[in-house]
Symmetry: C2
Subunit: 462 residues, 2 copies
Amino acid sequence: MNQNTSSDTMNALVSLTKRRGFVYPSSEIYGGLANAYEYGPLGVELKRNIMNLWWKRFIQQRADMVGLDSSIILHPKTWEASGHVGGFSDPLIDCKQCHHRKRADHLIEEHFAAKGEEKQVEGLANEELDQIIKDAKIPCPYCGAFDWTNVRQFNLLFETSIGIVPESESKAYLRGETAQGIFVTFKNILDSTRVKLPFGVGQTGKSFRNEITLGNFVFRTMEFEQAEIEYFFDPEQTDWVPLFADWQDKMWQFVTGDLGIATDHLRWREHPDEERSFYSKRTVDLEYQYPFGYKELWGLAYRTDYDLKQHMEYSGQDLRVVDSSTGRKFVPHVIEPAVGINRLFLMVLLEAYTQDEANQRIVLKLPKQIAPYRAAVFPLLKNKPELVAKAKEIFEQLSQDFPVAWDDRGNIGKRYLSQDEIGTPTCITVDFQTLEDGTVTLRDRDSMQQTRVAVEDIAAQL
Amino acid sequence: MNQNTSSDTMNALVSLTKRRGFVYPSSEIYGGLANAYEYGPLGVELKRNIMNLWWKRFIQQRADMVGLDSSIILHPKTWEASGHVGGFSDPLIDCKQCHHRKRADHLIEEHFAAKGEEKQVEGLANEELDQIIKDAKIPCPYCGAFDWTNVRQFNLLFETSIGIVPESESKAYLRGETAQGIFVTFKNILDSTRVKLPFGVGQTGKSFRNEITLGNFVFRTMEFEQAEIEYFFDPEQTDWVPLFADWQDKMWQFVTGDLGIATDHLRWREHPDEERSFYSKRTVDLEYQYPFGYKELWGLAYRTDYDLKQHMEYSGQDLRVVDSSTGRKFVPHVIEPAVGINRLFLMVLLEAYTQDEANQRIVLKLPKQIAPYRAAVFPLLKNKPELVAKAKEIFEQLSQDFPVAWDDRGNIGKRYLSQDEIGTPTCITVDFQTLEDGTVTLRDRDSMQQTRVAVEDIAAQL
């Protein structure tokens, strides 16, 4: 599965995901909508499985974590306090000749990437970006001219208005991240649960960024699914260094263990001082080797007490915690592991995509626990009612516990290939022998091995 | 549990849900945000359980259903085609004295409800609403004056803009319902899956309505979670009458069977001709008896081929299906079962809320399969390391499979009361006998019966 560095693989994958109902370009009948996608019948199952697995590992199975589901539209002051209204922006640049607009950082990165070089520009000031563009004489990718405006910052928050009465409308924002909902409800959570520091609050949900750059399929979209955690602790009681390392371990385990990603497709990237926010003591990104380069998958940041302090200042509320043994009041510090579910989704598909030329097939070698269907059930022949009835019975029974596909079209070989392409781990065929001895053929996706198993043992085998 | 008709129950429930971490008023530290709520650690688990159960029953366990996850921001033409831009509005009225604005239909309903009468005004024209207000001389609830403007319609869609560049911005809307995403991707689904009519597409997700009326806690909120299905069929092959009745059965089974709602708290309300959209042949609401009256829980509408035809007209695309045996092309008809998850959530809590005066306790008698915690684990004494260690071991093991609470504070009696109040079906206590014979005390929430069970049999008992 080292094919994932090729852009051919990306094209093949985009085509497969559309053809088989994982991901569709948004609003296609209306001519499409840039940077937006719809998750079809198989995609929604894969995405749900990834999200549910995240929830299980990071919320349910941990005694020190609780979940939350906060609003997409929060009080607008939230985004002033968080700095998003003031500073959540992209550096944009205009071509004076053709009037196309580009993200300046992407313009530079793409220019150097085309020459096989990797240029890190995150955290650079507008003037520094201007200088690089000037020095490298980077032309407009649309018209070829070299006639740029200066770089300017544009805010990424989507705006809307609450109140349907024009004179009483108030400006509001669609959340740019789920994390701020955790800080805004921090006091509610403290007051209503028995959590004791250190503890974390996690949530999954949609966030929105007004992107203008085309986003490499579902990697960067206007609307995206996040899974964020704020892990609160008392800096006088808990040393942040091992805690940070422990979160790195947990992220690594999830990606390599649960999602089955090869370790040589992953790397840690340490944010240098100039890229890190002034309040962050350390930030690392777990990066995956996408076909378009190593890109952030999962960020881990030690944000100190910055966010809670900002909300204290903007709200006038006391968000401090009391140390019950000493009476000391303090603002907890946080470590934030934040991942984009859509990026996990794309990574998992890229990693699973396998051209098995020896067997003339495409296989999605998805981990069993996240594959859209856990199994597929086939009657050997669709015109034999007794085979169909028995297969239906098995289908009904298995689908009580997990998603199961049904296929009675074409021959068995074609059905195998069709299920391989969508990652179904096991195919179950009901044939004449089934009616005699109560066994079925189980066929394994990866090894292509077939074994006979008694009907009552199927569930255990899956 | 006939207590749910009382507004005292509603107040007690709102207080309990805040105090125990089910639901918080939104953005409290910033003075709040009307008609918005946050789901805390217990609320998010309860809501997830309801949504997952819906998904299991209506998507996973049915061979004729597939899932979808479409965008919140779709191409704006979607909402012109659907009629939302033109007609998705509320009738509002202003008091000329105090300048408060009210929904005219709610003004009338509340006025008559206060006199113990039920007045149905859905589907009435603005002039008819004006006439009722005039005839009944309904005063302004804020200032008492009787000096109203005429009723006017205001659109409920939230607006936003795509594109961060002012001159290239295009107006977009936050979806007012999830259903339109199904129609817009109908062709993608047909082309990419093996669905054959009749089949349904279902999805869950957030929708948005710019409400000005205070919404009875989470019953009516600006942002809310829907679960909608469009069930497509060929009207020449499938008789809609029994199909409609079958969907009524399925909704009824889910609400009474899975969610445990008493049948005498439910009723079907048939929409009369004047209330029904012109294209709908039949619409019924499954209503629940909330403390503020019988209200729509789950709507079921036979929408004919209206929506697909509208999208055909606005997109110029052919969304017809071909009958493979005759070659006939036709636009499928749909039956739409649409439910608000937040309304199920509120119903389930109201139904479960029980003042058990004989035992001086509040109990949430939630069905086991949706309770936030399936069980709670206690060490009898927190200062006995061997009890704590054994209890932790049981906690760790059980939480592999479902959410489990931990409590080591106060005495056992108080811990029981605390778990009763949040609906935990079973409490598991590790005591000295556990260390001797490997059994624990299982205490049942509803019967308060205690039994001794071997540690290895606990999971089966839950």
